[in-house]
């Protein structure tokens, strides 16, 4: 999850945010980091670039990108399914 936090900070060019300051369970959007719809697109690209994962069903988006933990669990599940 620490790597994922670093990738998010870099991809979204988050200012004055460190991996340690991001909680695993707080919401990424609106509250917490306060991300918006443009960031959602950036996170979709991040999953493709770093993990070769494409989100097949866009309706899953809010669930996958709810928090760092939900993103990490989705990545692990996808990688396990591919293996």
């Amino acid at each position: 999850m620490a790597d994922l936090k670093k990738q998010i900070i870099e991809q979204l060019n988050l200012q004055e945010v460190t991996p340690e300051s991001i909680s695993n369970d707080e919401p990424l959007f609106k509250e917490g980091l306060g991300l918006d719809s443009i960031d959602a697109l950036e996170l979709i690209v991040l999953l493709q670039q770093h993990y070769n994962i494409r989100i097949a069903n866009p309706e899953q988006g809010p669930e996958i990108f709810y928090s760092i933990r939900s993103m990490a669990e989705f990545i692990v599940a996808q990688q396990t399914a591919k293996a």
């Binding site: 988050l14 004055e16 690209v45």
Partner: protein
């Protein structure tokens, strides 16, 4: 009777410490290089950290200069926002195009694309201010700033706005410097700031910056200048056409060369480009004191904005900083300043400022 247009506030971010306030150009930034970058203030004083992360340098410098101008004018909400930029948000354009090439047009992120348009700066200023008024951006190469100014003047004169924020800005990026260098625009060797205008070689130094002005039909208590006139001349055939255009411009504004107390020129140290200034000075202003500014900010298509900011500051101080003086000595009382600038020999512009007592 023509409505008077007052310059009620100015803001400038440039390769000099123009955003810091204090005495005019007192701390000269001396360079010995062929490309100058802006001295950036702390943009977080105007922009929230959550918003600043998506802004490229040119957006930040535009928002910063716009805020400085509005603060100086004591205005929180202009009726309209007009910007002029030749290159727009070049950095983000470069980021987006590079990704398109490197990633074979796949997995492209939206941020650089949506921030790469020319009107991003005008839009961002409006979003931050919550300004729903007229918002327009002029992209006319070396006339971008001048045409933004002209649009502003026309709107104020027709009475559709009382206060308008207008500015000119351009950024220099590694990509643009590389491309423009191929056209032979810049010097091959670094030149010292205070030696540029006497340089005997071709080419100039590259620059960048943002200059914003809050113009209004009513003066504020601190207002020192009015924008008396503006005019442009595209691709004159020969120097006589420029000289004739200046004479006509002065006549249209009810004055003669004798009424001009200070000439401010856009000399840039390129022996080919500066010829026309020599011709104009010899024909119309042989004994006039002359100030210059491109050794301070570098050459870029909207550099006349820096020139206008300097002229307004000179009227405020009633003195010309030594570092800006090119010829002669400024008179004790400076009432009229004529700014004559050209970009690439094709885009010639005249801006006339008058002191407000």
């Amino acid at each position: 009777m023509m409505l008077t247009i007052y310059i009620n506030g100015t803001g400038c971010i440039s390769p000099q410490e123009t955003a810091a306030g204090g005495p005019l150009l007192a701390n000269l930034r001396e360079y010995e290089q062929v490309k100058l970058a802006t001295v950036d203030p702390d943009y977080k004083q105007w922009i929230d950290v959550k918003q600043i992360r998506r802004m490229s340098r040119v957006v930040k410098m535009g928002v910063g200069a716009a805020n400085l101008s509005l603060q100086a004018a004591g205005i929180t909400q202009p009726d309209a926002i007009v910007t002029g930029t030749a290159y727009g948000c070049l950095d983000d354009t470069g980021v987006f195009l590079t990704k398109m090439v490197n990633q074979q047009e796949e997995m492209l992120t939206p941020t650089a694309f949506i921030q790469s348009t020319h009107n991003t700066v005008g839009g961002q200023i409006a979003l931050l201010l919550g300004c729903n008024g007229y918002n327009n951006t002029f992209v006319h190469r070396g006339f971008s700033f001048e045409n933004a100014l002209l649009d502003t003047v026309m709107m104020l004169r027709e009475g559709s706005a009382q206060n308008i924020l207008v500015g000119g800005l351009d950024e220099l990026t590694p990509h643009s410097y590389q491309i423009l260098s191929r056209f032979g625009l810049y010097k091959k060797e670094p030149v010292k700031t205070m030696e540029l205008l006497k340089s005997p070689t071709r080419g100039t130094i590259a620059g960048e910056g943002a200059a914003f002005f809050t113009l209004g039909t009513q003066p504020e208590q601190h207002t020192v200048a009015e924008l008396t006139g503006i005019s442009t001349l595209y691709k004159p055939m020969w120097e006589g056409e420029v000289i004739g255009h200046i004479m006509k411009f002065l006549e249209d504004n009810n004055c003669t060369p004798n009424d001009i107390d200070l000439l401010v020129t856009g000399r840039n140290g390129d022996i080919d480009q500066d010829d026309i200034y020599e011709e104009v000075v010899e024909a119309l202003f042989p004994e006039h004191p002359e100030a210059s500014f491109k050794h301070l900010c570098g050459e870029y298509p909207t550099a006349a904005g820096f020139g206008m900011w300097l002229a307004n500051s000179i009227l405020a101080d009633q003195a010309v900083p030594d570092v800006a003086m090119f010829y002669g000595k400024a008179p004790r009382s400076i009432k009229k300043i004529l700014l004559y600038n050209h970009h690439q020999g094709t885009h010639h512009s005249l801006i006339l400022l008058s002191h407000v007592e």
